[in-house]
Structure formats: C-alpha cells, structure tokens
C-alpha cells in the first residue's frame, strides 16, 4: 500500500495544525503529515532507508520504527500520520531496541565487505550500522547471492548488496515515468532488477545511484576510482541545456572524478539528468587540446601562448586590412559562458564587425528585429508543474531538457493535459491528451489552425495576416488542442529545440504567440545551452548586450551563405554544432584565416578543422572556468572554476581579453572576471515572451517536398563535451544514426528489403541503416543531426532515399 506524499502548500491555516510531542519537545504539526516529516522539519533525526521525501511512502525497510505512547508496538515513523496529543520517542530504549533489531535483519543478507564496496564511506547502511548494528553477527548461515545483469553503461549493479528499499523502483514509476527496475521473485528470492538483460533507457537514470542507500547501484564510470572522503566538492552549473541544473563537481587533485546534483528546489530539485551527471567524463578525455597550436604551411606546431595569440591577432588583422572588418565573422557554441559571449561580441564589434552569433542550429532569423530580449520560458521552472494544459510545439522535452520534462510530467500527474504538435510521435513518459504529428511544413499550418480555432475567443488575433488563415479549417485534434488551452486557467505553450531549428521558426514563433495570446497561455521558448546568456551577452548580430543597440551584422546562416574571409570560432565544432554542417564546413574552408578556441583537439574523423583552422587555442571547459550561465527562466548563476585548467588551457574570457590586447583594442584590461561582470550590467531586464510586433512578410508555408527530412539533434550529440563522454555515447539513447521512416513510406519507396540506404539531401549524401519507425509521419524521413555520419545532409527540404549500392 503506497501513500501519496502530501502536496506542499505555503502556510497551513491554524485549524490544520495539531500539537504533538517528539522526545519531550512540543511542536505543531500539520494534520496528515507523517511523524518522520515532522521530525525532519524539527531537526530530529530518525534512521531510514526506504523513505525519501520525493518518493511515495512504502514503509518496507522498517528502520524508522519509533515508540509512540499508548501504541502497543513500534510504529514506522514514515507511515504513521501525526495525531493530536501524540507523544513520539525516537531514541527511547524501546525505539532503539526496535531499530537495532531491524538493522540486524537488514544485515543478515547484506555482505559485510565495505572495504571493497564502492559505496563505502558514503553509505547510509554503513553509517547506521555503526550506530545500530552489533559488533558480531549472530547469523552463521549462507548469505543470499544475486546474479548481476548489465543494465547499461552508466549504472553498475551489485544486487547482492541490495536491501530491497525499492527507492529505485519507485523512482522509475514516479519520477522518471518509465518503470525499468522492478522487484521480481518472492520472499527470500526477491530481487531488484530488470529481470532480462537490458539497458535502462531513462534520461534521468543516474539518480537511482544517489537514491540507493547501499552499494547496489553505483556509478559505472566513477566506480573504484576514488573514495568519498578524498573528494572536494565545488559548486557548478550545467552548460548542456537551458535549465542550468546545479552541480557538485567533485575533484581529487586536479581531476574531476564525478558530478552529483546540488539540490535546488527552484531548478533541478534533487535530480540531475544523465547528460549533466556524466558529461564530465569528456573533460578528462585524451582528446583535450592542452597546448596552443598554429598551422604554418600546412604543418601544425605547438607553440606558447604569446606566439599563438600574436599569430591569431596578426592573421585577423590581415583579414581586416585586406578585406575590411565586415569580412570577419564569429560563431560561439551555445554552451559558452555569458562573459565569453560578451567579450567575443565586444572584440568583434570593436574590430568593426557585427557578424557574431551563437544560434548555430537556427536557420530562420527573419524575426530577429522584433524578438524579445531573450528567449524566455514565460514562467519559472517550478511554475511549469502548476500548468493545467501544456502544448509542446516542435519539442522532445523529455530528452532535450530532461528536468523540464520532469516538471511537465509532474503537472500531468496532477491532471494537466499535455498536447503536442510535433514532427515525430516522440515517446513521452505520459500519454498526450491530443497530438498532431505531421511533416515539418504542415506543423506550421497545424499551429495556424489551432490559432484559427481560438479566434472565436479573440477574433483580433488573425487581423495581422488574414490571408494566412482564410483557407484553413481546423481538424478535430486541433480544435481539441484549442479548447483545452483556452479552457484551463493555467495553460502554456512551449517552443522546443525542433521549433527553433525549423526552416520557418519565425512563423512558428508568431503563431505560437497568437495561440498563447488567444488562450491566455504563457509562451515559453527553449534555447540551447546557455542561449539566454548568448542573447544577453550580445552575441547576436542585431543587438548588443542586454538588448541594446549595437553594430549589426550577419547571422549564422548569413555567415555560412556569404562566407567571411576570417572566422573566430568559440568552443564550437562547426560541422557538428551547426545545423547546416555542410554549409559551415564550406564557409570555414573558404575562409583565409580561422581562429578556433577549442576544448578538444579536432579529430580528422569528424571535422576538417585541422585543414581549415590556422590557430587552435586551448579553451577551458565548464569545470575549469569561472563564468555565468543564464537559464531559460532568466536566472543568472555565476560559478567559480572547480579545478585548474588542464595543461595550458585557459578560460575563454581570459583568452578573449588577451586577444583584444594583442589586436590593440582598448577596454580589454580586465583583472578579474568581476570586472567583466561589472561592465556587463544586465540591469533589470524584464523578461518577455512577446514579439514586439508581428509584421512579418513571410508566407505561411513553403513548397512541400515529396520526402522531407526531419532533423533534430539527439540529447547526446548536442555539444562537443557530451559527444566525447564515453558513458553517454554508449547509451540506448545514442545509437549510430539511422534513417527512420514508417512502413508505408518504406514500401512506397520500394525499400522493403533494404538494410542500408543512401540518403541525399542538398549536396550531401550518407549511407546509413534503415529502421522502420511508426512514429515518423508519412512523407518524412527522420535522420538525426549532430553526427559525423549525417552532417553533410542538408537539414531541411527535399530528400531522397535509395537502397545503398551493394547492400
């Protein structure tokens, strides 16, 4: 029997309070709360294994037994509701007797081999055995042994150590929303596991390691590499998505040994996505660029910093001298820090070029002038779980922003209706109330039809572009979406990663705004990485820092389409980080001089950077630099470096500062990062989800090709760091990129018996395995981006698929 945790409300009315006494201390407790909750709030510790404040209550470990006056037997504090006048004793002789008895039972089957257990030193069972265990076991029989199954590259199992608290099982059911671990067998034969050998697929799976109170579930990459007491914890913030999850980066010596969540109820609660937890593996990789390098006559030479910076500065100066500053462009990875964004654009603009952008996976920039000051979530992250209706547009929220996906799931569990207009029928951890799954161009029309269905409420919303809507007739699903959005008090529209990279992203944004306005819904935009920081730092071509006017220039796409003679690339791998990877490569190859600030050595297997770059400057990743990430709710979180940069790598802000000096620019004399922050005073910027006006000259929809490519970048391909994290790369979420189509489409193309197919899109071609996937709509082929195998393919538009030669 499980009991739902009580929903928390701010201040209970006095009538809800009752007086109880714990260990002789009188206190007020809210009716319906459990003894353990009241004790926790009062700072009275009761031992426990199965109880966790974020999970349902099962009371199956019995460690929290306490004595309650007039109760005939000891009661589990986690499952005993408080009652008026209740007197609880947590440390009385009777309570201690019960707790010790439970501990003796728990240790019957638990191996007493802490010295060889990875949990040793941070193990609740070990700690509590010290307080409640006996010196010598009375148990002389054989202990239970459980065979281990491989459950994937992230979690190591030693199920013989399991004490059956079922926290991991409940986590799967209640938080991750996908039950992968269970309790099979019965009594003495009960085992926690997956039963059959299979990788767990949850994007939040690593949290079971934190939840496990023993050494049964431990981190596979971290295993046997360090003891908890050798590690020093540093506060950090994750760069991989727009959530800004709070991290504890744990360091031994100078090496990052592991990353754990840092509890922040407003952002990630006590959870962490696997991407944020395991990406650190890359910062220790052999592929790190550790020394500055320059290329002279096609030979790469390791040089000292001043030579490299002088070489970079003179090369950039030569481009300016010969071709003008406008021939200079800069591309920044979305995971750069606010300070890096700011200094990069300051450097470029002081050199006379406004060609600076961080939106590498965006192709439609036509609404830049009317865009809000930064892409805003439209509410706080915590507020997402209070929504009653959510419309996801072009978003695989669950995988792209796992923590936000969890918040929306919480809303759904409380009865919210989650709906989607998506190019793929993604696997959410809940049933969508209504969904339109259609090809990329039709998605736009579908959103327009939802707007039309809502126009009865606010007819004015169609006035700007009546010709867009006149011929449209909403279908039942679109009517239902409109009805739900309008019918709920708190509803929201969220534009996801796919919507931002859509060829008509600007039209989607304006339509989403119309829908949100008509339905009185919030409108949220999700940027990649520290994209909000990119906007606020001025790393956009049309505005300076904090939305101020500044020298304007070319967008990412314009820099690709009209290649510049010189490029500065900050932390990005152009082929893989730009949606138009082939175009990015062409632009880089056409340039005369390319300066790359790179965390990793370019690999000839994935990039031609060794051929087109002229200078490689070793850049410190998020664990080795101080900086600020601004998340999608506009929350700026500054952090210090967790460890010193590897080799001769340097923080980006310092590299850009000195590069500014070398180029003879004034205003680059910062002593500390605080000087940069002081200059970059974001002031009080009121976030807004609204476009300033909607005068857009675009057509509603373009020409629909016979077969359209759906391009999205899966979660473990998003940036150079996660692409090099070996654990993440081996998960089931990161298979070698396939070509996915539904069975009808495969039949229509005569590919029934094909295993390998050749895809052509734009000027690119790739031969990949073919998968039948009923989630892909007709007329579409889903080929992920962000992979060396697929970057050559044009991201949008007409695509052809034929059987691979020789296959």
């Amino acid at each position: 029997m499980t009991t739902k945790p009580q929903p928390k409300t701010a201040e209970p009315p006095p009538s809800d309070l009752i007086a109880i006494e714990i260990n002789g201390r009188s206190m007020q407790a809210r009716k319906g709360s459990m003894v353990i909750q009241v004790a926790d709030a009062a700072g009275i510790y009761i031992p426990r294994f199965c109880y966790h404040h974020k999970l349902s209550i099962v009371a199956n470990c019995r460690m929290c037994l306490v004595e309650i006056e007039r109760a005939p037997k000891p009661m589990p504090a986690c499952a005993t509701p408080v009652a008026a006048g209740m007197k609880v004793f947590t440390h009385s002789e009777a309570a201690r007797y019960s707790q010790k008895a439970v501990m003796e039972f728990l240790l019957i089957n638990h191996p007493l081999d802490c010295p060889i257990c990875d949990q040793g030193g941070e193990c609740p069972l070990q700690d509590l055995a010290l307080g409640y265990g006996k010196d010598v076991s009375r148990y002389a029989e054989n202990k239970r042994v459980v065979a281990d199954l491989d459950i994937g590259p992230l979690i190591a199992t030693d199920m013989t150590r399991c004490i059956h608290c079922t926290r991991c099982v409940r986590f799967g059911q209640e938080i991750a929303g996908i039950m992968e671990l269970g309790a099979t067998g019965r009594g003495e034969h009960m085992e926690i596991g997956t039963f059959i050998e299979r990788s767990v697929s949850s994007e939040l799976s690593g949290n079971v390691i934190d939840l496990c109170p023993v050494g049964a579930l431990t981190s596979k990459p971290f295993r046997f590499t360090a003891r908890a007491w050798e590690l020093i914890s540093h506060d950090a913030v994750s760069p991989h998505d727009c959530v800004g999850s709070n991290l504890n980066v744990q360091v031994r010596g100078r090496r990052v040994m592991r990353v754990l969540p840092r509890e922040n109820e407003a952002i990630n609660e006590c959870w962490l996505s696997d991407r944020d937890r395991y990406s650190y593996e890359a910062v220790n990789s052999d592929e790190r660029l550790q020394v500055p390098m320059i290329r002279i006559n096609d030979r790469w030479t390791e040089v000292d910093w001043s030579t490299a910076l002088e070489f970079a500065a003179s090369g950039l100066a030569r481009v300016i001298d010969q071709h003008g500053a406008d021939q200079l462009g800069a591309l920044a990875a979305p995971g750069s820090t606010l300070e890096e964004f700011y200094l990069l654009q300051k450097l470029m603009r002081s050199l006379g070029s406004g060609n600076v952008d961080h939106r590498l996976r965006q192709v439609d920039f036509s609404d830049d002038d009317v865009a809000p000051v930064y892409p805003w979530l439209g509410q706080s992250i915590a507020d997402l779980e209070n929504l009653e209706a959510v419309l996801l547009v072009g978003s695989y929220l669950r995988k792209d922003q796992p923590i936000l996906g969890h918040r929306v799931r919480k809303a759904q569990l409380q009865g919210a209706q989650v709906m989607a207009i998506n190019p793929v029928d993604y696997d959410f951890t809940y049933k969508l109330a209504h969904a339109v799954i259609t090809n990329p161009l039709e998605m736009v029309k579908s959103l327009a039809r939802v707007a039309k269905a809502l126009s009865a409420r606010k007819p004015g919303i169609l006035a700007q572009k009546p010709e867009w809507f006149s011929a449209l007739e909403p279908n039942p699903a679109e009517r239902a979406i409109a009805e739900v959005l309008a019918g709920k008090d708190r509803s929201g529209v969220l534009l996801g990663n796919y919507a931002a990279s859509h060829p008509q992203a600007a039209v989607i944004r304006v339509l989403a705004e119309l829908v949100a306005e008509a339905a009185d819904a919030t409108l949220g935009q999700l940027a990649e990485g520290n994209g909000v920081g990119g906007w606020l730092g001025g790393c956009v071509p049309h505005r300076g820092p904090a939305g101020t006017a500044a020298l304007s220039g070319r967008t990412t796409q314009a820099m690709i389409d009209e290649p510049r003679r010189g490029f500065v690339v900050l932390g990005a791998e152009p082929e893989l980080d730009c949606l138009d990877g082939a175009g990015a490569r062409r632009a880089m190859e056409a340039a005369e001089f390319v300066v790359m600030l790179a965390v990793f050595k370019p690999s000839s297997a994935t990039t031609r950077a060794l051929e087109y770059a002229d200078v490689l400057l070793p850049l410190a990743p998020f664990t080795e630099t101080e900086g600020t990430f601004v998340n999608c709710e506009g929350r700026a979180q500054s952090f210090a470096n967790a460890t010193r940069p590897l080799g001769e790598a340097r923080p980006g802000w310092k590299i850009l500062r000195v590069l500014g000096n070398h180029l003879g620019q004034s205003g680059f004399d910062y002593v500390s990062i605080d000087d940069v922050r002081a200059e970059l005073d974001r002031g009080q910027i009121a976030p807004s989800g609204r476009l300033k006006h909607r005068a857009l000259a675009q057509r509603l929809s373009g020409e629909r090709p016979a077969l359209a490519r759906i391009t999205e970048v899966p979660l473990y391909a998003v940036d150079s760091c996660v692409r090099r994290a070996p654990g993440l790369q081996r998960t089931t979420d990161n298979p070698p990129p396939p070509v996915r189509m539904n069975a009808r489409q495969i039949e229509a193309l005569g590919l029934d018996d094909a295993q390998q197919v050749t895809v052509r899109a734009g000027e690119g071609e790739a031969t990949l395995p073919l998968l039948v996937d009923p989630r892909v709509p007709d007329g579409c082929v889903w080929v992920p981006g962000g992979y060396p195998q697929t970057f050559a393919l044009a991201p949008h538009g007409a695509t052809s698929v034929i059987k691979a030669a020789g296959a």
């Binding site: 309790a183 067998g185 997956t194 059959i196």
Partner: protein, 169 residues
Amino acid sequence: MTAQTSPVSSIDLISPDSRARIDDSIAKYPPERKQAAVMAALLIVQEQNGGWLSTELMDAVAEYLEMPPIAVYEVATFYTLYDLEPVGRHKVYVCTNIACMLCGCQVIVDHLQKKLGIELGETTADRKFTIKEAECLAACGGAPMFMVDGVYYENLTPAKVDEILDSLE
C-alpha cells in the same frame, strides 16, 4: 526484411482465442484499470503456450495491457502457478504445507520422485510430467493432496498416485 525499431511488437504472439478470453477478464475491471487483468491474462497465455511463459509472451501481455514489461515479470515471478521454463504435459503440484506435512506428504513426494526419477521442480525426459512443490492449496481436509492440471486429488496414498498418474496420457 528491414530492421525493426525496438521494442518489437510481440502482441501477435497472443492467439485470437486467448485475446477473447483476456478481453473477458479486462471487462471485469474499470477501463483505466486494464492491468488488473494481468494475472488472468498470464494464465491464459501460459495455457496457450503449453503451460509456461516465455519472456516474449510476458512482453506481449505487457503490451496488450499497456503495462511496463517489468511489472508483468514481477507478477509472473511472484506466483508459483506461473512457469517460466518449459514444462511437461502434466503439471503436478504437491502440497507440502503444514496440514499435508502432518498427514505424511513426504511419502507422496518421495514416491513421486522415485516413480518419475526426477526431483521436485524438474520435468521427466519424455516431457510428460513436471512435479512442483506447492504451498497450501486450501484442501487441508483431504491432506495429503496434490493438484494435477488444475484438478485436486485428496487423501493420497502411493497406490492412488500410481493410479492417477498412470491414467494420464
């Protein structure tokens, strides 16, 4: 054949006849509580499959009832009436619980093992019989007892056991 996406749909492993019977069970519960029919569904597909459940069949039941596969494995591994390995044509469940024990079930167990040449939990080489130890089958008044293919036989003696088993095909 083109490769499939995982998970592969295994729902077709359930025969139309079994589906009809599972649907009857589902109908006994509220529509949003389909999974309440999991125990009945497992018995039905086990019968269809010659007395045992393969992982694929459990997956099929999970898919049919819209449950996570692990939740079905939990049920199937908990109860002794589900077999997860191939079994003989006739399943003999001998009760060894308290009442049967007091009335001499050990004689019955010994006799069965000797007669068939197998231990409890094993299947004869000709795949005719599987014998299993059962906890109380709620027929204490007729102890010692066993259940063969769902039929109870009470007040057993070795001679009676011979008679019953020999009468089976």
